[in-house]
């Protein structure tokens, strides 16, 4: 027995190695010093020192989303743990597997308001999929392995393991992952075959079908994207996706309608509104997508595939709900479709596409360019054109720039697009880019940012410089919290209360102060050369792209409106929001 005994800190490291972890993101402090000491004495795990614990979690999210592996975070007790809360909530909302280790005061001090004590499991109970307080070293190995299992199985999510300092010193026996079987948690991955048959029947008999896919396809893995592509092409049906699902289906394909929802395309939202069969694969009927619920796809039969049973019938009544993992269910759907030699209704489909083409003809993403001022949409289009020959990963902050990125930067592959969808966390993009670049050292990683958002986790540029991560921060600088300004214009008669970005730093000098490169573009004529220079610069770059201050993000379904009540860019003048809509966010 004695031979297997290790300290709690050593158990933590050994468990991480046995779980295949090679990188963790963290920040030290008193309550995790023994783990930092154990890290110091080994070479299997690389520790990326961030500059703020929120950054550690977002970096781990970027790492996780671009690799499909769980992201691992190590922070100290008290303020270390509370600083991680935003990141954990973000990961919970977007179903990102994160294992976050927090230090805690020694067990005999818990509850005494000790220095840097906080009730971490209490605080994070609501923003994790599950959490544990480990009270002795002998249970540590089991909890570590259970934590990885819970974070990565079923609907993925963040978990927290709170480890008191005395437990890190205490000795206990180690057990490997193969010895740990979870007592209760057995998520269902195979869908009910009768339901799948029923769904295939509905799909085959549809006259006006549409696929509506989401982040679940990405989370399920690359196989799910492949199967989705095969099934969608086999049917010839149109497909749209949520913000989180971009890249699962190639944007260059002719069946692709673009993103749906509040800032989705005219064709995607109208197809949703008019469809007779809605095929939801791995999306969750979020309010950004549905708009007014009682007017959502009102004449459709709805199929919903989701690994989380609680997503089905939560916001929208479902006709055929299938609990299971997207890849498994798609595989069964394809098999049944083929074995029954199903064929879509050719004539109906041709009419449907004709209708869709007229919506597409509306060109809802178009915008007017100008000679003297850079349009934000144009900047993103140029960024795409000049980077598409590279392996490019995009992260974003939150605001108009995020929506413009989703609209104007096409994705061909899954796991190349990381954005904070559910929580809408300003400050996500830069640390996420750090995490992506760690996982993909040779790729081009760009954070499409706003000048306001970027200041929320700006400090992580220092992490990028330290670890020689050549991330590019592409700021669409409109000197406004543009999305807030847009809503104030629409909802509050243009009273721009505290949405002007005053006293901005000089981003070029800021970059230089951090030891990075700063580039500024102010005129459309300078844009291409400046973007090229950014891409060619070997280290981290802050690109200050001065854009039109008053451009609004269209199309837009205002809060409380239906999919077929969109505001389009060219007739947005004087648009308003209903009284009920004003109550919504």
């Amino acid at each position: 027995m004695a031979a297997h005994e290790m300290t709690g800190a050593e158990i933590v490291i050994k468990a991480l190695v046995d779980q295949g972890v090679d990188t963790i993101f963290g920040y030290p402090g008193g309550a995790v010093l023994p783990i930092y000491d154990a890290l110091f004495q080994q070479n299997n795990i690389r520790h990326i020192l961030v500059r703020h614990e929120q950054g550690a979690v977002h970096a781990a999210e970027g790492y996780a989303r671009s690799t499909g592996k769980p992201g691992v975070v190590l922070v100290t007790s008290g303020p270390g743990a509370t600083n991680a809360v935003t990141g954990l909530t973000d990961a919970l909302m977007d179903s990102i597997p994160i294992v976050c280790l927090t230090g805690q005061v020694a067990t005999h001090l818990i509850g005494s308001d000790a220095f840097q004590e906080c009730d971490t499991v209490g605080i994070t109970r609501h923003c994790t999929k599950h959490n544990w307080l480990v009270k002795s070293a002998p249970e540590l190995a089991r909890v570590m392995h259970e934590a990885f299992y819970v974070a990565t199985h079923g609907r993925p999510g963040p978990v927290v393991i709170d480890i008191p300092k005395d437990v890190q010193f205490q000795k206990g026996e180690y057990a490997g992952p193969q010895n740990v079987v979870h007592r209760t948690y057995r998520p269902k991955v195979k869908g009910d075959i009768d339901k799948i048959k029923e769904a295939v029947d509905l799909i085959a008999n549809a006259k006006k079908p549409v696929f509506y896919t989401g982040g679940g396809v990405i989370n399920s893995g690359n196989l799910a994207s492949q199967l989705l592509r095969e099934f969608v092409r086999l049917t010839g049906y149109p497909i749209t996706s949520t913000l989180m699902g971009l890249g699962a289906y190639p944007a260059s394909d002719k069946q692709w309608l673009g993103m749906l929802g509040m800032h989705g395309t005219f064709e995607a939202n109208n197809a949703m509104h008019d469809c007779d069969v809605l095929i939801n694969i791995g999306a969750r009927f979020d309010d950004r997508v549905t708009g007014r619920l009682d007017a959502f796809a009102p004449n459709s039969k709805k199929i919903h595939v989701d690994i989380d049973a609680s997503s089905i019938n939560k916001n929208v009544r479902i006709d055929v709900g299938i609990v299971g993992d997207c890849a498994h269910v798609l595989e069964d759907m394809l098999r049944i479709w083929k074995s029954k030699a199903r064929r879509p209704d050719k004539d109906a489909l041709a009419d449907w596409w004709k209708q869709i083409e007229t919506w597409r003809g509306r060109k809802s993403l178009s915008f007017k360019t100008s000679e003297d001022v850079i349009k934000p949409q144009q900047a993103i289009q140029r960024l795409y054109e000049l980077s598409k020959h590279r392996e490019t990963y995009i992260t974003t902050e939150v605001g108009q720039h995020q929506m413009w990125a989703a609209q104007h930067f096409p994705f061909e592959e899954p796991k190349h697009w990381m954005t904070s969808g559910g929580l809408g966390t300003m400050g996500y993009g830069l640390p996420a880019a750090v995490g992506v670049q760690i996982a993909h050292p040779d790729a081009l990683v760009i954070d499409i940012a706003g000048e306001a958002s970027i200041q929320m986790c700006m400090q992580e540029i220092s992490t990028a410089v330290q670890f020689m991560l050549p991330v590019k921060i592409f700021i669409l600088n409109n000197e406004y919290m543009g999305m807030v300004r847009q809503w104030q214009e629409l909802l509050h008669e243009g009273r721009y209360s505290h949405s002007y970005s005053d006293s901005l730093p000089d981003f070029v000098k800021l970059a230089e102060a951090y030891g990075a490169t700063g580039i500024r573009a102010e005129k459309p004529s300078e844009l291409d050369a400046a973007i090229r220079k950014m891409i060619e610069t070997p280290g981290p770059v802050i690109f200050d792209c001065m854009v039109d201050k008053f451009e609004n993000c269209y199309p837009m379904i205002p809060s409380g409106a239906a999919h077929n009540e969109m505001i389009l860019g060219d007739d947005a003048e004087g648009a308003t929001v209903s009284e009920e809509g004003k109550m919504l966010v």
Binding site: G122, H130, T184, A309, R317
Partner: protein, 170 residues
């Protein structure tokens, strides 16, 4: 849609791993998502297996009740969730300790009524009784209602426990 539907009262049994914080998870789920708790009871039911059973009485539209069950089911330490109101024929009981103070006519009347409810006297002084009464929640409500004018001073209720009829386990 869901708002047009009628609100129903459901008794839900939840078998959980008896780990630290599990009750907080269940209660936090109800408060965090805005569901009702009309009654909640909890107790360990298998010491060797470390399992506890939580019984919750809640109210909501059918869609909300479905949501509550699905949300409970996805909590990691939950073994099983059972809706005793729809899935099976079940029996429910609640117990209350009811203290009534008074003398003379009122005291006699309290004792007489307690007999009709098959309540037991478990403590008595010259000026008070403590009754133990068991039954459905509505029976206990009725008993308390009758005691109110007769000198009701204190009530302690266990909340509802429930179990399915027939030979099967949960």
């Amino acid at each position: 849609m869901s708002t047009d539907e009628k609100v129903e009262r459901h008794t839900i049994a939840i078998l959980v791993d008896n780990e630290a914080g599990v009750l907080a998870r269940v209660v936090g789920l109800f408060s965090g998502r805005g569901y009702n708790i009309e009654s909640l009871t909890v107790g360990e039911v298998d010491q060797a297996e470390h399992t506890s059973r939580i019984t919750v009485v809640t109210a909501g539209t059918p869609m909300v009740i479905e949501q509550i069950k699905a949300q409970l089911d996805r909590l990691v330490p939950v073994h099983k969730v059972m809706d005793l109101t729809v899935e099976t024929n079940s029996v429910e009981r609640e117990m209350a300790l009811v203290k009534v103070a008074g003398t003379g006519e009122r005291r006699v009347e309290a004792l007489r009524l307690s007999d009709a409810f098959r309540a037991r006297v478990i403590d008595t002084t010259h000026t008070s009784f403590v009754f133990e009464v068991t039954g459905t929640s509505s029976k206990i409500d009725a008993f308390i209602g009758l005691m109110r004018p007769l000198g009701l001073v204190d009530v302690s209720r266990t909340g509802v426990v429930a179990i399915a009829r027939g030979p099967e386990a949960m």
